[in-house]
């Protein structure tokens, strides 16, 4: 991602005065307008952010220290919400499931996206556009639809996925993906691959097009094999995008909620033995089903801290890897 730009960078160079016109004149035109225009343009954002971000944000800080029963009644409980989360095994399961999913996203989904992008990068533009269109298309379908649709595809004996596994590996025709706690996470990951491999591929493909072909050619002439060229030349050249996509994937993974909710709609998104429960699913349950918005806020803070820490670590790793 772009580093935070300082204000100076954007200051414009005043237009060159033509002939002998005084330099001050065009400058004054700019300054006259900069007086109110940017504030006016930003005022809707500032007003709405104050009401719908800053205020709820401050509220979320305090809410985490309260126990509520519905939106009306609240009791101050100090750190008890966080203590409860430390000891609640259901929350630990949810955290573990979400972490497993995040790892699968980074170490399975992104390499697959990268592989497809590399395969596609050689083709001409029309072929590229064609395959990109196909591979991106699952993103048009909402997660809630995908989840329920794939729930049907995972039907034992009749489901499309069960039949394909049976045809390929002579395995899994009768497998109950959604009832077997060991197969729940693979089912979620498989579904998520269908949705997001193409999405991340679009980013990688765009980044691959900016890589200097001469640099790769030079490495090849020096005797590097295909893997070495990729690992030492191509990947470092597109590291900005890789860091961006990895961070977005981790953030997205920790916010996973709708997909398991829809896949396991028959038991409220929990799955057998809570094996499909994610942290946001847990938040949704305690805050909006049980009415304890305070505990929900505490869960939100835990998620925010995890996302923030992992993002910082990744940015740090990327910086070290650069040197």
């Amino acid at each position: 991602m772009q580093p935070i730009a300082s204000g100076r960078e954007t200051s414009s160079i005043p237009p060159q005065p033509s002939g002998g016109a005084p330099v001050a004149r065009p400058r004054r035109i700019r300054q006259l307008y900069t007086g109110w225009a940017p504030y006016a343009f930003l005022s809707p954002y500032l007003a709405l952010t104050a009401v719908f971000f800053v205020y709820p944000f401050l509220n979320a800080i305090s809410l985490a220290f309260y126990q509520t029963n519905g939106p009306r009644t609240r009791v101050f409980v100090g750190l008890q919400n966080f203590q409860f989360l430390l000891t609640d095994e259901v929350f630990h399961t949810a955290l573990w499931n979400t972490t497993v999913f995040a790892c699968a996203s980074v170490f399975l989904q992104l390499p697959l996206s990268m592989g497809l992008a590399l395969l596609l990068n050689r083709g001409n533009d029309r072929i590229k556009g064609f395959f990109r269109l196909i591979l991106f298309s699952p993103n048009l379908v909402g997660q809630i639809f995908v989840g329920i649709l794939f729930g049907v595809l995972f039907t034992p004996r009749y489901g499309l996925i069960n039949r394909v596994f049976h045809a390929l590996f002579q395995w899994g025709l009768e497998e109950r993906w959604l009832d077997n706690p060991n197969l729940v996470m693979p089912a979620i990951v498989l579904t998520s691959l269908w949705i997001w491999v193409g999405f991340n591929m679009v980013y990688f493909l765009a980044a691959l097009q900016t890589v200097d072909k001469n640099l790769e050619e030079a490495a090849r002439i020096d005797g590097a094999n295909a893997w070495q060229v990729f690992w030492h030349v191509t990947l470092p050249s597109m590291r900005h995008v890789v860091v961006f996509v990895v961070i977005m994937s981790v953030i997205g993974s920790y916010q996973l909620f709708e997909l398991p909710l829809a896949l396991f709609h028959e038991n409220g998104g929990f799955g057998p033995d809570n094996s499909a429960l994610t942290v946001i699913g847990y938040l949704n349950f305690v805050a909006f089903n049980s009415g304890d918005l305070g505990l929900g806020s505490a869960v939100g803070w835990v998620v925010a801290c995890i996302i923030f820490t992992i993002s910082l670590i990744q940015i740090r790793i990327a910086r070290v890897a650069k040197e």
Binding site: Q2, G7, P26, A60, Q143, F145, V152, Y203, S297
Partner: protein, 309 residues
């Protein structure tokens, strides 16, 4: 051995033959392998769509009998019909009176369109201001904005819900639209896009006497069209398919959006998958049309924000 395995073996054999025939220059073999792998990925992605299209026209009783479409000889009104759509369009009785499918579609359309338009307008306006003006407090504002993008939305959902209850915005589309009228992510994207507009161009407009707002509409917006298209699509997809917030905010039957009501079809109304799938197929159409229309701009806009970095 079944046909699928035989097909895979044949493809593998062709690859080996190509490779062995000219081991010095294996390019042909690799090119073949590339097409096969891309083809398989495409088939894997498209198969659920084909299954979906087949499923919505199949009768309930034969949904599982045939994997995709029934063989042509078996086509009849007992196997292929429009029962799912008939059931989908039949009104549902509720406390708010009989509600028809088009009501949910209308709710979704209003919610997604209004949200997308306001997000597009206010985010691009703010992004332009941040990219092309110097003013007091700009640095801190940028830091605040980027920082706010790091905060997960779910953290704010509980307090926003509490506030919505106080303001009487629960169970209204406005309660859903207002908190997201402008998005920090959108501002960031538009700021990136506006940075590349030459200042001379804006100043030329000023010298010609155009007002600041006029410059934004007539000069800036046409130049950031690809980003506007990309943002439109992303925003529309997000709003059209939104489930978490609408599920919490909306209660009345006649105010529900498509994801909520279709989810109810499998959860509360007798697990009717055929009807759900028919509704899903219809719900994919508007985003698909938008995607095909904006495809080219979408790819360039979506990636420019990150790739330039």
């Amino acid at each position: 051995m079944n046909s699928l395995q035989i097909l895979l073996l044949v493809l593998l054999a062709i690859f080996l033959v190509l490779y062995v025939s000219s081991p010095q220059r294996p390019r042909r073999a690799f090119r073949f392998a590339r097409w096969v792998l891309l083809g398989m990925a495409s088939v894997a992605v498209l198969a659920p769509f084909v299954w979906l299209v087949a499923a919505i026209f199949k009768d309930k009783t034969v949904l599982n009998e045939y994997l995709f479409f029934p063989p042509l000889g078996h086509w009849s009104l007992e196997t292929m019909n429009l029962d799912n759509f008939v059931e989908l369009f039949r009104g549902k009785p509720s406390i708010q009176g009989t509600v028809h499918f088009w009501q949910y579609a209308l709710n979704s359309t209003v919610f997604a369109t209004v949200s997308t338009c306001t997000q597009l307008f206010f985010s691009s306006l703010a992004g332009y201001a941040l990219a092309k003006y110097d003013f007091r407090g700009k640095g801190p504002l940028m830091i605040f904005m980027l920082g706010s993008m790091m905060i997960p939305q779910v953290l704010l959902l509980a307090p926003i819900y509490e506030m919505a209850v106080d303001l009487g915005m629960v169970d209204t589309l406005w309660g859903l639209i207002l908190p997201h009228v402008v998005s920090a992510y959108g501002i960031f994207l538009f700021r990136q896009a506006c940075m590349s507009i030459p200042n001379d161009m804006l100043d030329a407009g000023r010298i010609d006497g155009a007002s600041e707002l006029r410059i934004y509409f007539a000069l800036v917006m046409p130049l950031v069209r690809p980003m506007a298209a990309a943002f439109c699509l992303v925003s529309f997809l997000g709003n059209w398919n939104a489930f978490f917030a609408p599920n919490i905010f909306l209660h009345s039957q006649d105010k529900l959006t498509l994801p909520i009501i279709l989810n109810l079809y499998v959860n509360e109304y007798s697990a009717d998958y055929g009807v759900f799938l028919a509704g899903t197929a219809l719900a994919i159409i508007p985003p698909a049309i938008l995607f095909f229309a904006l495809q080219k701009e979408f790819i360039s806009g979506l990636t420019s924000g990150s790739v330039k970095g």
